[in-house]
């Protein structure tokens, strides 16, 4: 029946890692994810896990050590944020192209510069095309649950891709909220044992990993990665269904909050969804048909499903907590609008870049977005799709 606890997002993630008990954790401390390896190294010292903890000298080495451990046949995990992820950059692509199902807890923070340690999604958006599965989490419970589901998804034979579980730095990672944990033995049973088909430490089958891959081969290997990402959708749905049987907590590609009869909708990810739900409830009390679509699975991107879920609304606002600095809208906006266009859903849609560098996102801000959407519905016009809120222009 679960264990009632009160934990920060970082504590919840570290406890998920303890229950998963991976073979190797290699990590380097960086705000705001520092506590995860910190708590985890305590579990190692106390003998609560069997994990080899590698205290590396950089994030490049952290990801390299995870790659080595996974290639050898082990289960490897890490945690990082922002500039730490930037330093992993080269190895992020190596991990996914070698099809190693490493699991990372990515505590989202603004990538420098200028230097800022607070939350936005610029770190996550940097790896959106790297071949990692990316799950976003509204709160500590979802950060924990997504990690418990992560290995089942990443290690599936049809997938074999690394996976990052995102949560908002400080807002989620350092806020203590109530949480329901799963019993240790149930997690162990759910996650299962990692049994790779081919691995370096198999004496019966000497293999080579990471060969030179020139003009005749790389294209096909990238296609295999793309196919694996497409196949991941079914696996994510299956694992989420099993997880619901275990915990009663339902996870889909995205959460539709009062969306089915909504006329205006916000699309966003992570903690902003919590703020938006409060505003949706307030607006509903006033008779305004507001709804929310909270993206959980960002990679693979459920373009068709999102387009369908938004097809009946009259105006949409997509909130990006990272500016793509491209004069054409943020990453989530591009994905959502591209998905709508391709699936022949034509709803006036605007983009808001917000919350950069930890700028507070308040209920008042979200009310402002819904007011703008009501205006768009009334006038039938969406002038200037590239907008901001919370910014001093």
């Amino acid at each position: 029946m679960g264990i009632r606890e009160r934990l920060s997002g970082n504590e919840a993630s570290a406890i998920a890692m303890k229950q998963i008990n991976p073979d190797v954790v290699a990590a380097f401390p960086i705000t705001p994810s520092t506590e995860i390896p910190q708590y985890f190294s305590t579990f190692v010292s106390n003998g609560d896990v069997d994990t080899e903890f590698v205290a590396v000298e950089s994030e490049h080495s952290a990801m390299s050590a995870c790659i080595g451990a996974e290639a050898a046949g082990g289960r490897a995990m890490t945690a990082t944020s922002a500039n730490g992820l930037s330093l992993m950059w080269e190895m992020i692509y190596v991990a996914s192209s070698l099809r190693l199902p490493i699991v990372m807890s990515l505590v989202n923070r603004a990538v420098s510069g200028p230097l800022n340690i607070h939350n936005d999604h610029s770190d996550a958006m940097g790896i959106r095309d790297s071949g990692w599965i990316m799950l976003f989490s509204e709160n500590n419970q979802e950060a924990y649950d997504n990690l418990i589901m992560a290995h089942r998804i990443a290690e599936h034979k049809d997938v074999r891709l690394p996976l990052a579980v995102c949560q908002d730095g400080f807002i989620t990672s350092h806020s203590i909220e109530n949480i329901e944990l799963i019993e240790d033995e149930k997690v162990k049973e759910f996650v299962g044992t990692y049994k790779p088909e081919h691995y370096l430490l198999n004496r019966k089958e000497p293999i080579a990993i990471g060969p030179l891959d020139l003009q005749s081969y790389l294209f096909e290997h990238k296609y295999q990665q793309a196919e694996a990402m497409r196949a991941a959708k079914k696996v994510i749905a299956d694992v989420s269904a099993d997880f619901e049987k275990l915990t009663g907590r339902k996870y889909s590609f995205f959460e539709e909050y009062r969306l089915d009869d909504a006329e205006i909708a916000i699309v966003c990810m992570n903690s902003t969804a919590g703020t938006t739900k409060v505003v949706v409830d307030e607006l509903r009390e006033q008779g305004v048909k507001a709804g929310l679509l909270k993206v959980r699975v960002f990679r693979p991107f459920p373009a068709e499903e999102i387009a369908k879920a938004l097809s009946h609304v009259k105006a949409v606002a997509v909130l990006d907590k990272s500016d793509s600095l491209n004069a054409a809208g943020g990453a989530l906006f591009e994905d959502v609008t591209s998905g709508m266009y391709v699936n022949n859903v034509h709803v006036p849609t605007v983009n808001y870049v917000y919350g950069i560098g930890g700028r507070d996102t308040t209920a008042k801000d979200i009310h402002g977005v819904y007011s703008d959407l009501q205006e768009i519905v009334k006038s039938g016009k969406a002038d200037n799709p590239y907008r901001y809120f919370g910014l001093r222009k």
Partner: protein, 101 residues
């Protein structure tokens, strides 16, 4: 050992994930000797069978028989690096320009 033989006509569906190679020692299938621009020549009358040359070969281009005596170069794999000629104390390996004679 996998039976799969992958070449430039193999479709993606039949290639190994990530390009993993499950055939140990499959470098023998790729004859790389045509990379060579300089060629070692084995002068068997000067060779004392001291055994210094074949361990330094970065490939496997100096065959050694069961009696531990070396034989002539395997030019299918020798890339002409010349390490063996440098290490030979007896001048039993001469380096010649490829394609001159």
């Amino acid at each position: 050992m996998s039976e799969v033989k992958i070449n430039k006509d193999t479709p993606a569906s039949q290639m190994t994930p990530g390009g993993d190679i499950y055939d140990a020692g499959n470098a023998v299938n790729f004859k790389t000797g045509d990379w060579r621009s300089v060629k070692p020549v084995f002068l068997s009358d000067k060779c004392k069978q001291c055994g210094l040359c074949f361990p330094v070969c970065p490939d496997n281009a100096i065959p050694v028989k069961e009696d531990l005596k070396r034989t002539d170069f395997n030019y299918d794999y020798c890339k002409g690096c010349g390490v063996c000629a440098k290490v030979c104390p007896f001048g039993a390996i001469a380096m010649e320009e490829e394609g001159v004679k």
